[in-house]
Amino acid sequence: MKGIDLSVKIGKLTLKNPILLASGTVGYGNEISEFIDLEKIGGIVTKSLSLKPRKGNPPQRITETASGMLNAIGLANVGVEVFLKEKIPFLKKINAPLICNIAASSVEEYVECTRILTTEDWIKAFEINVSCPNVKEGGLEFGNNLSAVGKITSSVKAVTDKPVIIKLSPNVSRISDFAKVVKEEGGDAVSAINTLVGTAFNIWTRKPKIYNITGGLSGPAIKPVALAKVLEISRNVDIPIIGIGGITKWEDVIEFMICGAYAVEIGTVNFINPRAAIEMSEGIEKYCEQAGITEIKKITGSYQI
């Protein structure tokens, strides 16, 4: 199987294979390293970091739904300062590209986090989580507002030379309009999709199953939605896309790439099978061999419609 090139490029970021571990599903890498050799994966996207530590939501934070799960963790994280002090030593040791995911409640906070983190050379790119409430706008999500997404993109780009990936919310009417704004404002790539808003109730107590009432739906239940969003972006905007949503097996990786993804992030599956990323990269290599593909990047956007 030698000779098959699994590497992909997201702007100026080169990954040895297209499989990244999604934000919020691998912490800061140390727990999952007990199960897999992180050097064999395309890269890690950290848990969302905010300027100050966040405690997160009270329990119950998760519940299973049909072929999926709802979570409302509440962006619990250690904050930029502790991240730099305590998580660096481990992350520096692993030879996998690290993408820092940033969550914030104001444009200024996104900028400040990026400005601090960009000085660390082991951080190769930023992924901006815009599915956060904007405190100045009464808690409305940045990700629902075209001009807010544009402003975040241009403001973050102004303080870093590293690739900036905007993680788009699917809870909008036309996701490709958001990808267009990201491109216009100088963003290097988009990742799509973040979780879909959902809820679940206990019929006997008539109470929501999670404390936050609504949560983000992830897992294989959302894969067809995610795939349609990736395809929509791919057909309308010329920007690198990282496909996310319900990937559980190598066939899903190929499907996302055919629909326009340059790379993918896998999330919920890490909770069930912490070795999934390795198994998938072996799977896609075999697929390339069988299909006579020498460079996997050639299948991106190769849909026959």
Binding site: G24, T25, V26, G27, E31, I32, E34, F35, K47, P53, K55, G56, N57, P58, P59, Q60, R61, I62, T63, E64, A66, S67, G68, M69, N71, I73, A76, G219, P220, T248, T268, N270, F271, I272, P274, R275
Partner: protein, 253 residues
């Protein structure tokens, strides 16, 4: 920690909807400690999607035992398995009970399926410590006596043993708990654990509680199983990684 080579050996109905599942799993059986848990994938399909966490109930040689209450989809699939069916198990996970230490009398307080971890605890400290067990359930059908000798029993409806809950029974039998250095080990539904926590605090007994929570991964990455800390208001603890067994003084239920 990741074991795809385990298999079901035998499934026994203990009482009502409670089953004991004997599993061939030599690697995990060698390592696991009382109070630790396993996260089990009950099917190889996407339904149900997530693993199901179960506390280890007992260990014999190469075999693990899980005590399971048939409640939903996951436990239905698990209790319908046949001898030889493979099981995908992640474990051992979490921190077990601290069984060593400066106490003479171990007091077990189990509520419903909270009896699960005690057979292994019992076997481990039998002979080294004196043991008194209290087991409670809503009805006689919920009371499981497997793996523990001479327990005191309570049921909410009085269909077996003392009518009332485990903590009321412990209060009633308090003379058994005097004049010795005591440590309580408790496992059961949260309201019961809360009552045990209060009972231990009032009487100044050492107490460890085994908690439960909805969780996805079982090893600290999903952050789903938050539990409030008694000492740090700025962050939550995780049931899977910081627990599931906690000193009763360390968590707020």
């Amino acid at each position: 920690m990741f074991n795809k080579n385990s298999s079901v050996e035998e499934i026994i109905n203990l009482n009502g909807s409670v089953y004991l599942i004997k599993i061939y799993s030599p690697e995990i059986a060698k390592q696991i400690k009382p109070g630790q848990f396993l996260n089990v994938k009950v099917s190889d399909s996407l339904a149900p999607l997530l693993r199901r966490p179960f506390s280890v109930s007992n260990v014999e040689g190469d075999y693990l035992f899980l005590m399971v209450n048939l409640l939903g989809e996951g436990t239905k699939i698990l209790t319908s398995k046949k001898k030889g069916d493979p099981l995908d198990i992640l474990g051992p996970l979490g921190n077990g009970f601290n069984l060593d230490g400066d106490y003479e009398l171990a007091v077990f307080a189990a509520g419903g399926i909270g009896e699960a971890p005690f057979p292994f605890v019992y076997k481990t400290i039998k002979g080294a410590k004196e043991i008194i067990s209290f087991i409670g359930g809503k009805t006689a059908k919920e009371v499981v006596e497997y793996g523990i000798e001479n327990p005191y029993i309570s049921t909410d409806d009085g269909s077996l043993g003392f009518k009332g809950n485990v903590v009321q029974l412990m209060e009633q039998k308090k003379e058994l708990l005097s004049s010795k250095k005591i440590k309580i080990f408790a496992c059961g539904p949260t309201p019961m654990l809360k009552a045990v926590q209060g009972f231990a605090a009032k009487n100044n007994y050492e107490c460890e509680i085994s908690t439960e929570s909805a969780m996805a991964c079982g090893f600290g990455i999903c952050q789903g199983c938050a539990i409030a800390s008694a000492h740090q208001s700025e962050k939550y603890l995780l049931v899977c990684k910081d627990g599931p067994v906690f000193n009763a003084k360390d968590v707020v239920l």
